[in-house]
């Protein structure tokens, strides 16, 4: 019954938010909510006997616990970061004080619906909560009430929601597939997984393709990625981190579950081919786009697209080992990417462009923001998959598996990775070389400790993950791969 603590906590926090007036308590409540969620998740992980006794609203297995763990960590970091960041926004007048309540309520609701989406036992429920994550994250993107933000937010809603409608068609197909002659049927993930092999594979293929459309849009797969750079770049950095580190995972989670179902049937190879193709396409588009980015956050956003493409490729490869590393990559990507967004947020606060729509002019980087600069560089090194960082391991593992299918996949992918790395470092070198003309430098922005702590934590976590397997991690991930429905004993 620990699971019920999630909604209880949310209701409690929302009620308390309702009576707050000043920023500090609201933001602390946000931290409390995220930390509480993380705590509950850890509690559930520690007590496996609780897993099956949940209410019909929850289904617990290793896979969604893993996702929830990431969610909890990222949300906690983001909410701590928000304490300082949002205060800065309010101080400078970017964020209207009156929007604060909407922001924090939206933040808590986003956390709640993400939780519910991960724990959703059946496809329809998952669809609904995934759709709601779009709604609430769009609120958070639009919160600054600048025209560009509203534009980005609307684009986000339109692209994701319309694609999600296609997914719903897929859900209807699935239901038709699962329906018993007496008209009842269950859309439970487990039930579908169990009987998928005995159903009409043509219809399942159509259902899957429709289903993928929506969740591909949610995780920013080309050609449905257009919303992502804008939404992620325009949102407040605390929100960008959550969008990149958690909300994209919702889409990936859906695709993963569906891949597991497909792998029970004979159409697995065709669907895998589609996934691999779109994964490669996404990566190429993202890598080439990265070459011509001028804005920090847009650059990071395109890197998210690239990583999502890589994850899609991994799910297409579909061997237990590939999926193991895919899950690992999801963790690594979320951790590193949020750290990057956090440090980009600090840079943005420092070098904020005062002309509407203009890019930030970054200069005198090390003199003015040594902390953020260091964090940003470490994050960049980590995100392109340098050894010692977790993304290296996962990229290595997945490419090895992909090489078994065709040698061209790792070849092209490595080329694209090189391209992405070149793009990021070209960008870094460009901003490092800049200096302000005398008297033009903006006032130094004093980074509050609230904003530094999550960055330090995330960077330390990523180094730790890269250096050693945490105790129990391997077994947990292997169990999660098993939950997807792809048999095999892992490594």
């Amino acid at each position: 019954m620990i699971l019920l603590l999630y909604p209880v906590l949310t209701v409690l926090i929302l009620l308390l938010q309702g009576v707050q007036h000043s920023h500090r308590p609201m933001s602390l409540l946000g931290v409390l909510h995220s930390a509480g969620t993380l705590l509950i998740t850890i509690l559930i992980i520690a007590r496996p006997d609780e897993w099956s006794s949940g209410s019909p609203l929850f289904m617990v297995d290793h896979l969604n616990l893993l996702m929830m763990l990431i969610t909890g960590v990222i949300f906690t970091c983001a909410s701590i970061y928000a304490v300082g960041y949002i205060e800065g926004l309010v101080m400078t007048g970017d964020l209207n004080r009156r929007s604060l309540r909407i922001f924090y309520i939206g933040f808590s609701l986003l956390l709640f619906v993400t939780t519910m989406a991960f724990y959703a036992p059946n496809v329809a429920q998952f669809w609904i909560f995934a759709e709601l994550t779009t709604v609430f994250s769009a609120v958070l993107v639009a919160i600054l009430a600048v025209k560009e933000n509203i534009d980005a937010s609307l684009k986000y809603i339109f692209v994701c929601s319309t694609s999600m409608l296609f997914s719903f068609i897929g859900v209807i197909f699935l239901f038709e597939l699962m329906r018993q002659p007496d008209g009842t049927g269950s859309l439970d993930w487990q039930a579908i997984l169990a009987v998928a092999s005995s159903r009409d594979s043509g219809m399942l293929a159509i259902a899957c393709i429709f289903f993928f459309i929506g969740f591909a849009a949610k995780s920013g797969i080309v050609p449905l990625h257009t919303w992502l750079p804008e939404a992620h770049a325009k949102a407040p950095s605390a929100v960008s981190a959550v969008l990149s580190g958690v909300v994209l995972n919702v889409g990936m989670y859906g695709i993963l579950r569906m891949t597991g179902i497909v792998h029970q049937t004979s159409i697995a190879s065709q669907i895998s081919l589609i996934l691999i193709l779109f994964g490669m396409l996404t990566m190429s588009v993202a890598c080439f786009s990265m070459l011509r980015q001028k804005g920090t956050k847009r650059m990071i956003a395109f890197s998210s697209i690239e990583n999502m493409g890589f994850l899609l490729l991994a799910s297409g490869v579909g061997t237990p080992v590939a999926l193991f590393w895919m899950l690992y990559h999801i963790i690594g990507h979320s951790v590193v990417k949020s750290g990057l967004f956090f440090s980009a947020g600090i840079l943005h606060r420092q070098y904020k462009s005062h002309t509407a729509g203009g890019e930030d002019h970054i200069a005198d980087l090390f003199r003015m923001q040594p902390f953020a600069a260091a964090a940003f560089i470490i994050g960049s090194v980590a995100i392109i998959g340098t050894p010692l960082f977790p993304l290296f391991l996962s990229k290595f593992g997945i490419l090895l598996e992909a090489g078994k299918l065709s040698l061209y996949i790792p070849l092209i992918t490595l080329l694209l990775f090189a391209l992405a790395g070149a793009a990021i470092f070209r960008f870094l070198i460009a901003i490092m070389g800049e200096t302000f003309a005398a008297g033009e430098a903006p006032e130094q922005y004093i980074v509050p400790v609230w904003m530094k702590a999550p960055v330090v934590f995330l960077m330390a976590l990523s180094v730790l993950m890269g250096l050693l397997m945490l105790p129990g991690e391997e077994a947990f991930l292997t169990a999660a791969v098993h939950d997807i429905g792809i048999s095999g004993v892992g490594l």
Partner: protein, 230 residues
């Protein structure tokens, strides 16, 4: 009581009317008639739900019909009309990518494509009940036409209507192919209403200046008065 033959032929007429309304949505430039067309389209859906309810003796469809009537025929159009008065835009004259004429062309091709695809996939349904098969084809076609409306329209508020019409297509498809549990339909409806409310409020921001937007947030009571004064 309506006999089965009459219900079937009425259903056919309704299906055709749905497509006609979709064609109108693609080519109308006047905002208020767009909203009216959408409301009519939803009304046709209500009729379809009732007719299927009569044909298949399912009382659940009557609830769905009532829900649709309340939300899509009355509620959402009313809300959009209010927003429309606030932003004082009557026409959406510009189209990207596709002019209405070519949009209609493309939709003809899409309908054909959907028909051919579904003939492969849903042959079971086709042999069982060709009318229901046609319904599902038209449902998906309506959805694709809504999609065309979304990306060929320029104003956010017309995009919202395109989205809503897509959603009608999904409902139509759901009605004909299978019956989902009522609770799911209900939650989806709520979900959509939240989405539409949000989008339209954002639309106000998009299609008007920011100061006006701030004022409107107050009008919609999203900002409470005490905080305004604080």
């Amino acid at each position: 009581m309506i006999t089965n033959e009459v219900a079937v032929s009425l259903l056919r007429i309704c299906l055709i009317l749905v497509l006609i309304s979709a064609a109108c949505l693609l080519s109308t430039r006047n905002l208020s008639s767009l909203v009216r067309t959408y409301a009519l389209q939803s009304l046709i859906l209500v009729a379809i739900a009732l007719l299927i309810g009569v044909l298949e003796q399912k009382s659940i469809l009557i609830f769905i019909a009532i829900l649709t009537l309340a939300s899509k025929v009355i509620g959402i159009p009313w809300f959009i009309r209010i927003i429309q008065q606030r932003i004082r835009i009557q026409q959406d004259l510009h189209f990207h990518y596709l002019q209405p004429a070519s949009a209609l062309m493309v939709s003809i091709l899409l309908i054909l494509l959907v028909y051919l695809c579904f003939l492969q996939v849903l042959h079971d349904l086709f042999t069982r009940n060709s009318l229901f098969f046609l319904g599902s084809v038209i449902g998906v076609s309506l959805m694709l036409m809504g999609l065309i409306a979304i990306f060929s329209r320029q104003l956010a508020i017309t995009k919202v209507i395109g989205y809503l019409s897509m959603e009608n297509g999904v409902l139509l498809f759901g009605l004909f192919v299978t019956e989902l549990p009522f609770i799911t339909e209900f939650v989806i409806m709520v979900d959509l209403i939240i989405l539409v409310l949000l989008t339209t409020i954002l639309t106000v921001g998009m299609d008007s200046s920011i100061d006006a937007y701030m004022n409107r947030l107050k009008e919609f009571h999203l900002w409470s008065e005490e905080e305004v004064n604080a």
